[in-house]
């Protein structure tokens, strides 16, 4: 019972959803659309479980004064304040409200700065990884440098090669790059088909429990 029901459900639902692609009939599509909406609802409901998990992980740390408990407390308070502000503002979340203030002056800069760390990491990763140890690494390095030089306005103003560099960069982007990407896409699609089939046929069942 505990295993068979999920297995049968997997097979039926999976097969039905594969059919969505090949069966254009509107009566069929009504149901596939309905199923997908259920999936979206489940994913949304799981947010509550996520919240519970968060509290289960962090609240004991605060109560037992474990390492970093103060920060965890800050996090829980920030969460509570934002939630209350969000639900009090309700439909008017875009208007002036505590929620909007929190959004504009804390969320936006924190988000943007976290993202901006990449400018620094990309420099250190490039420095470390781009050493011409062998032919592969040399190509990686060469392509990166050509593209970087060709992309900036200063590169285009270089004498003689300034004209050809952007064109050569476009060639790298249009030919070898496209060839490699398509290979990744095609391979991944084959992998996806095999994975999907393994799930639907019940060969992969680690998500369905052990007992």
């Amino acid at each position: 019972m505990k295993r068979t029901v999920p297995l049968i459900l997997t097979f039926l639902v999976g097969l039905f959803m594969v059919g969505e692609y090949f069966i254009p009939h509107y009566r069929y599509r009504i149901w596939t659309a309905e199923f997908l909406e259920w999936g979206v609802i489940l994913a949304a409901a799981a947010f509550v479980l996520g919240l519970i998990n968060l509290i289960q992980v962090n609240l004991p740390k605060v109560l037992k004064r474990e390492r970093d408990w103060g920060y965890k407390l800050v996090m829980l308070i920030a969460l509570a304040v934002t939630l209350v502000a969000g639900f009090t503002a309700g439909e008017h979340r875009d208007g002036p409200s505590v929620y909007k203030w929190v959004y504009d002056y804390t969320f936006v800069p924190l988000n943007a700065t976290m993202f901006a760390l990449l400018a620094f990491y990309i420099a250190s990763a490039a420095f470390r990884a781009f050493k011409a140890r062998n032919l592969e690494a040399a190509l990686l390095l060469g392509a990166a440098i050509i593209v970087m030089v060709a992309r900036v306005p200063a590169g285009e103003s270089l004498p003689v090669i300034g004209d050809y560099l952007p064109r050569f960069m476009n060639w790298i982007m249009d030919v070898p790059n496209i060839a490699a990407r398509r290979a990744i896409f095609i391979g991944a699609a084959l992998g996806a088909v095999a994975t999907g089939l393994r799930v639907i046929l019940g060969l992969e069942r680690s998500h369905l429990g052990a007992d």
């Binding site: 505990k2 029901v5 999920p6 459900l9 097979f11 999976g14 039905f16 594969v18 969505e20 692609y21 909406e37 259920w38 609802i41 489940l42 994913a43 409901a45 479980l49 970093d68 920060y71 996090m75 969460l79 509570a80 304040v81 934002t82 939630l83 969000g86 639900f87 979340r93 929190v102 504009d104 804390t106 969320f107 800069p109 943007a112 760390l117 990449l118 400018a119 990309i122 690494a137 190509l139 060469g142 392509a143 990166a144 593209v147 064109r167 060639w171 070898p176 060839a179 490699a180 398509r182 896409f185 095609i186 699609a189 088909v193 994975t195 999907g196 799930v199 639907i200 369905l208 007992d211």
Partner: protein
């Protein structure tokens, strides 16, 4: 209309924003209490925001409103949601959660199986069969004026793509031919990775420039900047953060990390 006089809340907000920006940037030096504070604020706030948006964007219109309108079918997802919560209620009923999980995994696996196969397999293959005769007529072997289009590029595309695909061939025993093809595939992959890496640099630096412009107050109209004094805020917050880091290090903070690094 742009308000010419900012409220004190907005000015305070702009200062908070600058302080948090510097707090996150302090991570580049080391994991430290200032960063930790910013990080945990960020976590709490972001979860609060996403839960609010999820409720108003999905749960209410797709579930609650539909149930309220008497849509009988909506009972099914409601029941599945309840099953998902079963694990919290008791260990014995925990297995019930597998039913919605089986449902959602199977549904998406089914849909994506065909979706991926169409978008990433069929379409990509269809686009990778160049007409070499036409390329020869229009561009010859290699045409600088068309970014290197021509027969060479056409053949390179097909051969490179095939070699990359065969590089992923799992059943291959390492014969010399196979090794050669695979090597060529790897070289094409490396060219592509290097180019993509180089290409992304610009976007990433732009992001940091954006942050720097805010710190220096260059992103706002002059009259707003005059009220906020962003440069003053940056210097004050910057000095505070650095002073704190110095004191923190002198007291032995972060020593453990140094050891690891």
């Amino acid at each position: 209309m742009e308000p010419s006089v900012l409220s004190s809340l907005d000015i305070a907000g702009a200062w908070v924003s600058i302080a948090l920006t510097l707090g996150i940037f302090s991570f580049l030096y080391a994991d430290n209490p200032v960063y930790k504070l910013a990080e945990h604020l960020f976590l709490g706030i972001s979860i609060g925001i996403s839960m609010t948006e999820m409720y108003y964007g999905v749960v209410r219109p797709n579930l609650i409103d539909k149930l309220a309108a008497g849509n009988v079918l909506s009972v099914v997802p409601l029941v599945m949601c309840a099953m998902l919560f079963a694990r919290l209620a008791s260990k014995k009923l925990g297995w019930l959660a597998r039913i919605p999980i089986a449902f959602i995994v199977a549904a998406y696996a089914g849909v994506k199986l065909t979706g991926e196969a169409n978008g990433n397999l069929m379409t990509q293959v269809a686009q990778s069969m160049p007409n070499l005769a036409e390329l020869w007529r229009d561009h010859g072997i290699w045409d600088w004026s068309a970014d290197g289009a021509g027969v060479f590029s056409g053949i390179f595309l097909v051969v490179g793509l095939s070699a990359c695909l065969l590089h992923f061939y799992f059943s291959a025993r390492q014969g010399p031919t196979m090794r050669g093809i695979s090597r060529f595939g790897v070289l094409v992959l490396m060219l592509s990775f290097g180019a993509s890496f180089g290409y992304t640099v610009m976007g990433r630096i732009s992001l940091a420039i954006g942050r720097a412009q805010e710190l220096l107050g260059l992103d706002k109209p002059a009259e707003e900047a005059a009220q906020i004094h962003p440069q003053l805020a940056s210097v004050v917050c910057g000095v505070l953060v650095i002073a704190f880091l110095v004191v923190w290090r002198l007291r032995g903070g972060g020593a453990e990390q140094e050891e690891a690094a």
